[in-house]
């Protein structure tokens, strides 16, 4: 992005009747007979603008200047894994063979697509240690919902109707929202100060006792359908007792769901299927480098154990006997299996975000098993480097080993009345995208920094220098940070006014 911009107006202000941005092809068939009932004829548009292609290109180019992207520099959002988006992935996703394929074409006509889906599934099985995968969910939250519905179907198939999902209060908001969408009641399990699930009851500073896993399972027993655990948790800390959590919930016949948003700390190093996880989701737009797109499209594959496989959304890609192929590569035949009587049905109309799956496959093939593990290790090294350089300048909330992300907070800056929000805005003025702020809520003033493996020492040193500069400025001139940002063409915005008097679309000014 560029830091100086003149304000780009709304496209509607540029509309001039008569301008066109698209020329239509010559109609080579007779014009349509108008068969529309009179009251269902399009009467026109109030906002759709009349502008030229030049207007549109200039508009979106200038608007883009107002965005900071991953190619601009470090984007250390914790738990978002903003790693480099390889350009090869964009190229392969645009291959006409893929882009021109119709989702309802016969299997025989989309063998390439089925091979893409099948291949990525096989990679994800090896990475997660779980034997079954679906690529149909379109985002992490979508994957969570799918996974929790698998759990529900599993219990129903056993004639049980369990009503509760357990989760720690450090969980990402999508977890309880998902449980509610799947018809479950959410019961919060106490967490330790480091956000890990507590087996014991925990007494808070206010004297209130929060129940731990042991008492909740003893009390609720067979009412518990499952527990949703993020691992590493939302503070970047590994749930070291996850094996015991699995055993404890399995003993009451419940299942362990793992939120795989932080998988970037584990690929090639640890596999959820190996430590008792029954079902989990992955975020291809985090761990597997597919671009964030300003809010999607993502993809949230779900991996699960054999017990849940029958319930997977349909159709399921299957591979049939290897056929004859050219050279040494065996040619298989692939098929979409719709005959899945116990399937939960569908979560997306077609086959999920196929274009994103292609990108993720390119990422996997490029890295290989060795590269994926190297990426994990480098992600962990990078986060630890930042921790080493900034601990002492910012308060390090947890002395426990850091994996791929580190949580600092603003408590050292409190004497100067400088807070996490000011630190974030100060980073903006120094050319960086801020880390995740104020999440998770159990850490006051959290700054969650995840550099990912893409950052070089040079980039990280620049970020570290900026953070140190902000700490210094907090002591010397806190008012400067309160005013930040001042260098990016937009000051702090009034979110209160936006919520009190919502203006959610442009409307034509009254004459």
């Amino acid at each position: 992005m560029t830091t100086t911009r003149t304000r780009e107006s709304l496209i509607f202000d540029r509309s001039v009747p008569g301008k066109v941005g698209m020329d239509l092809p010559r109609l080579d068939v007779p014009a349509a007979k108008d068969t529309r009932p009179a009251h269902l004829k399009r009467s026109g548009f109030d906002a759709l603008p009349s502008v030229s292609e030049v207007d549109v290109i200039r508009h979106f180019t200038r608007l883009s200047h107002g965005n900071y992207g991953v190619d601009d520099g470090m984007y250390p959002l914790g738990s978002c894994t903003m790693k480099h988006n390889p350009r090869l992935n964009e190229k392969v996703a645009s291959l006409p063979g893929f882009t021109d394929s119709h989702p309802m074409a016969a299997d025989a006509d989309v063998q390439g697509n089925l091979e893409v889906l099948y291949t990525l599934q096989e990679w994800l099985k090896e990475i997660t240690g779980l034997p079954a995968v679906t690529l149909q969910p379109c985002a992490g939250a979508h994957g969570e919902l799918t996974g929790v519905m698998l759990i529900r179907q599993y219990h129903l198939s056993k004639g049980a109707k369990r009503r509760v999902i357990l989760l720690p209060d450090s969980a990402h908001g999508t977890n309880p929202a998902t449980a509610a969408m799947a018809g479950y009641e959410v019961v919060v399990v106490a967490s330790q100060a480091d956000g890990t699930v507590s087996f014991e009851d925990v007494t808070g500073a206010d004297g209130k006792v929060q129940k731990g896993l042991t008492s909740l399972l003893a009390e609720l027993g067979q009412e518990v359908a499952g527990i949703m655990v993020t691992n590493p948790n939302t503070l970047g800390i590994f749930e070291h007792r996850i094996g015991e959590i699995a055993e404890a919930v399995h003993r009451v016949g419940a299942l362990l769901y793992m939120d795989g948003a932080n998988m970037n700390a584990m690929v090639g190093v640890a596999r959820p299927g190996d430590f008792g996880v029954d079902v989990m989701h992955l975020n291809l737009h985090k761990t597997f480098s597919t671009p964030h797109g300003g809010g999607g499209p993502g993809s949230g594959p779900v991996a699960c154990g054999k017990a849940l496989e029958p319930f997977l959304p349909r159709p399921v890609v299957v591979r049939e006997t290897a056929g004859e192929g050219e050279g040494r590569v065996p040619r298989h035949r692939y098929r979409m299996d719709w005959d899945r009587p116990e399937s939960i049905g569908k979560v997306q109309a077609f086959n999920g975000n196929f274009g994103i799956v292609v990108r993720a496959l390119a990422y996997c093939l490029s890295h290989g098993g060795d590269g994926l593990k190297a990426a994990t290790l480098r992600a962990i090294v990078n986060a630890n480097y930042i921790r080493k350089e900034l601990a002492g300048i910012y308060h390090l909330e947890y002395p426990t080993p850091t994996l791929h992300e580190v949580i600092l907070d603003d408590s050292y800056l409190a004497p100067y009345d400088v807070h996490t929000l000011d630190v974030a805005k100060g980073l903006i003025d120094r050319g960086f995208h801020p880390p995740t702020i104020y999440f998770p809520a159990i850490v006051h003033g959290a700054l969650m920094i995840e550099p990912t493996e893409s950052e070089s020492k040079e980039e990280m040193d620049a970020f570290i220098a900026a953070m140190k500069d902000i700490a210094r400025e907090a002591a010397e001139r806190p008012e400067a940070l309160h005013q930040a940002p001042v260098r990016v063409g937009m000051r702090r915005l009034d979110e209160t006014a936006a919520a009190r008097k919502p203006v959610l679309r442009w409307t034509r000014p009254q004459a």
């Binding site: 109030d46 759709l48 119709h102 992490g140 999508t174 903006i428 442009w506």
Partner: protein, 451 residues
């Protein structure tokens, strides 16, 4: 490894700064007994050239049709070069959700414009930044209607809704105790108004109807909305081919309280079904129950107009188990494609394209009906999709077409007993007259079963 900034000197400098010998020393956060004690059993890393070759080979194993006449929720439309070019700017496609508004004004303003356009197309007052696809949009609309209607627990869905959307609804509504999905039958390809009246009771929260429906038929949305309102239910229009908004009146102007569906038609290729673009637009009075992200206009400290995510208290990161939805990442970049496309098209382009689609479909139908084995299955007006009854075996017909490089319409046989050997055809601006003639020529060669 081209994506990792590793180099021996740099690696050493980092590890020394941290104070460890090797990267593996930093894994103590993961108990040793839980670690994978071996390398991943996966192929090793490959060059760009090798990966491109592998994936190109896979892509080439898809049949490259020279003409497509299949719609059914995924429409083959022309994508202007400006769309592909513009979204390839890194500021658009690598950026995250606009949580830091000062450095995300591009994304935020684009979404505000996109929300405006979706409201314009649907005749509604508030739209969100996008949902995953048409199927999940139906689910969100249904759940929203139930939240709004509080005590009403039944959702009526026309049998004319896309069968795969119906399956999504079933999957997602079933987990909610007490909520019921009831199907309303069809008569001559459109919602049976008598059956609708019979099923509209005080328990119905909303009626979902296709506009146009899965069979391509244009439903009388106004009559259906009136019937719904008379029973205290909300009317929801489901549009799986959003280009129809260039031809049909905005659902909000003929009584629909909510408009949802699939907008992949705007600036997207088929992509084997995703990423697509679910949309949902509603009345202002209902905005607090709207799921998904919403962008609002405001001012900054200098009084400059700017944009922010707003009404966030509805969403999962604040409301948690009481959120309107769990949706977080949506289809942001696909909405950008649609926004750019719509702005290039403008009212003339959109209506012109829609008129061309209608013309092509009518021409295709006329030519098909000249063949002895084809008859029109329904009498309702249609946009760019319609159904013919075929006297022969559809599978054989499709195979003949495929041999000639043509992707024929959808075989409706599996979907309903009274649709045996019916075909759902689609024609868009991409189907030339030559393509139609080539299709007709192939079909004329298939042995006729009539006389």
């Amino acid at each position: 490894m081209r994506y990792l900034p590793t180099a021996p000197s740099e690696d050493r400098a980092l590890l020394d700064a941290i104070g460890v010998d090797q990267a593996e020393d930093l894994l103590q956060g993961i108990p040793a007994r839980l670690r994978l004690g071996r390398e991943l059993d996966l192929p090793g890393h490959q060059s760009e050239q090798e990966v491109l070759q592998l994936l190109s080979a896979m892509a080439s194993r898809n049949t490259a049709f020279r003409a497509r006449f299949l719609g059914a929720g995924a429409y083959d439309h022309f994508v202007p070069a400006a769309v592909d070019q513009m979204i390839s700017r890194q500021e658009w496609f690598t950026a995250y959700t606009p949580y830091q508004p000062e450095i995300s004004q591009g994304t935020l303003q684009h979404i505000f414009e996109y929300q405006t356009l979706m409201c314009d197309l649907t005749g509604q007052e508030v739209g969100n930044a996008s949902l995953y696809d048409g199927g999940s949009a139906c689910v969100e609309a249904a759940l929203m209607a139930v939240r709004l209607q509080k005590k009403r627990k039944t959702i009526l869905i026309s049998a004319g809704l896309h069968p795969l959307y119906q399956e999504c609804l079933c999957t997602n509504i079933t987990p909610h105790e007490g909520l019921k999905l009831v199907q309303v039958g069809l008569k001559d390809g459109v919602t049976d108004l008598a059956d609708l009246a019979a099923k509209l009771d005080g328990e119905v929260a909303a009626v979902l109807v296709g506009y146009p429906n899965f069979l391509g038929c244009v439903e009388d949305l106004q009559a259906i909305s009136s019937a719904a309102h008379a029973a205290g239910a909300l009317a929801v229009a489901v549009t799986q081919e959003a280009l129809a908004f260039g031809w049909l009146e905005a659902p909000g102007k003929v009584g629909a309280d909510m408009a949802c569906g699939e907008a992949m038609a705007f600036g997207n290729k088929l992509n084997y079904g995703g990423p697509y673009l679910g949309f949902l637009a509603v009345r202002d009075a209902h905005k607090r129950e709207l799921p998904g992200r919403v962008v609002g206009q405001t001012r900054d400290l200098d009084g400059q107009v700017g944009y922010v995510l707003t009404l966030t208290a509805r969403e999962q990161h604040i409301r948690r188990d009481k959120a309107t939805s769990n949706i977080c990442s949506n289809e942001g970049l696909v909405a950008l494609r649609a926004n750019i496309f719509l702005q290039l098209a403008g009212p003339e382009g959109l209506q012109g394209l829609a008129a061309q689609n209608a013309a092509k479909a009518q021409y295709l139908q006329a030519r098909l009906l000249e063949l002895p084995d084809f008859t029109a299955r329904f009498t309702a007006p249609f946009f760019n999709e319609f159904v013919t009854q075929y006297k022969g075996d559809v599978k054989a017909l499709q195979a003949e077409c495929a041999k000639a490089g043509i992707l024929a319409g959808l075989d409706l046989t599996p979907y309903a007993a009274d649709l045996k050997n019916c075909i759902l055809w689609c024609a868009t601006e991409l189907n030339s007259r030559e393509q139609v003639e080539a299709l007709v020529e192939v079909l004329a060669r298939v042995p006729s079963l009539v006389g």
